[in-house]
Amino acid sequence: MFINWAKQEISVKIVYYGPGLSGKTTNLEYIYSRIAPTHRGELVSLKTKDDRTIFFDFMQIELGSIQGKRPRFRLYTVPGQRFYASSRKIILSRTDGLVFVADSQRDRLHENLDSLLDLEKNLIAEGRTLADIPLVFQYNKRDLPQIYSVGFLQNRLNFLNVPFFEAVASRGIGVVETLKMIIQLVIEDIERKLRA
C-alpha cells in the first residue's frame, strides 16, 4: 500500500495468482471492458508470441474522490507457467490482496495445488503467509464438462476458508463479484493495520 498525503491518494496492489491458463488475464480483460476509461488506465499485457503472459498484466482502477481521498487499485496477474517462477515472486512482492484463480477442470487439480504451494512458498520468502493477506478464491471455467464440484475444490484448495466465487471469466460471470470482495477485504485489512 502506498499513501500520498499531499494528493490524498491511497493506492493498493492486488495480484491475481493461479496456474497457467486458469483465466487470470481473462479476469482483467473483462474488468477492463466493464469500466469506463475515466475510471481506469490502459490494460498492459506482456505476452509471448503465443499470447501467454510472460511477465505480468497490469491495469489501474481509479475511484472518484471519497471523503477527499482518492483510492486506486492496481491489478496485476502473474504468469502461470511453471518456468516463470521468478516473475511470480517479483510481482507478488508487497501485494495487499490476492485472488487465486483456480481451474475447475479435473485434470488441472495438480496444477492448482502446485500453484497454491508456489504462492505460499513465495510469501514465506517475503516473511508473510497466506493467512496474513486478504485472499479470495475464484473457481473458474464452471461451464466446462469435466469439472470438480465446488465442494471438492473447497476441500482441496481453500483450507483457510476464505470467500470464494464460481466463475466463467470468459463470459464475465463471477469476475466483478470476485473483484469487489477482494477490494472490500483489502480495505478492511488496511484499516486494521493503520490502527494497529
Partner: protein, 170 residues
C-alpha cells in the same frame, strides 16, 4: 548498471507526507529544467507512480511506472543469478529519438528521466546523482502526518468505496 546493496523490501505501508511530496516534486522539476528533459517520473519499486514533471502526449505514466518497477525487479533476479545478493542501481536505455535513464533511490523508489540525445550522458549522471542525494534526504526526513494515518479509513469510507465500485462496475 551498477550493483547496489540489496535490502529486503519493507512490508509496512509507504506513506509520503505532503511536505515530502512537494519537496520531491520541486526537485524533479528542477532536474527536468537542467537536463531539458521531456519527462521525469518518481515512483516506488512496487510500480506506484508518485510524482512526475513534464508530459509526453499519449504516454500513460502509471503504466510506465509499473513497467519500470518490473524492469528493476527482473534485473534484481539477474543480479542474484550473477552471484551474491546484489541488485542494480541504475538502468540506461539508449534510443534513437530519446534516451531513458532510471536510477534507484534507497531500493524503495526510482527516478526515471527521458532525455534528448543532444544531452550528454555524463551531464545526466551528475545532475541525477545530486538530485538523488537530495531526494534521499527528503525521504529520510520524518513524516508529520504519520499520527493521523490511523484515521485515514473508517467504516463510512469503506461503505462509500463499495458504493462507488458498484457504480463503475455495475
Amino acid at each position: 548498471m551498477i550493483p547496489a546493496n540489496d535490502k529486503s523490501l519493507p512490508k509496512q505501508p509507504v506513506i509520503l507526507s505532503e511536505e515530502q511530496f512537494l519537496q520531491i516534486s520541486k526537485l524533479i522539476d528542477a532536474l527536468r529544467g537542467k537536463l531539458n528533459s521531456r519527462l521525469i517520473l518518481f515512483g516506488d519499486m512496487d510500480g506506484q507512480l508518485i510524482a512526475k514533471s513534464g508530459e509526453i502526449p499519449g504516454l500513460d505514466a502509471s503504466i510506465f511506472s509499473a513497467l519500470t518497477a518490473g524492469d528493476f525487479s527482473a534485473t534484481r533476479e539477474i543480479a542474484r543469478m550473477l552471484g551474491g545478493q546484489n541488485s542494480f542501481k541504475l538502468h540506461y536505455h539508449e534510443g534513437i529519438q530519446q534516451h531513458l535513464y532510471v536510477a534507484a533511490v534507497s531500493d524503495q523508489f526510482f527516478v526515471s528521466v527521458i532525455f534528448d540525445p543532444s544531452v550528454t550522458l555524463g551531464m545526466v549522471r551528475i545532475f541525477i546523482k545530486k538530485t538523488l542525494e537530495k531526494i534521499q534526504e527528503v525521504i529520510e526526513s520524518a513524516s508529520r502526518e504519520e499520527e493521523q494515518v490511523s484515521q485515514l479509513i473508517d467504516s463510512e469510507f469503506k461503505s462509500l468505496v463499495r458504493d462507488d465500485l458498484n457504480k463503475i462496475l455495475g
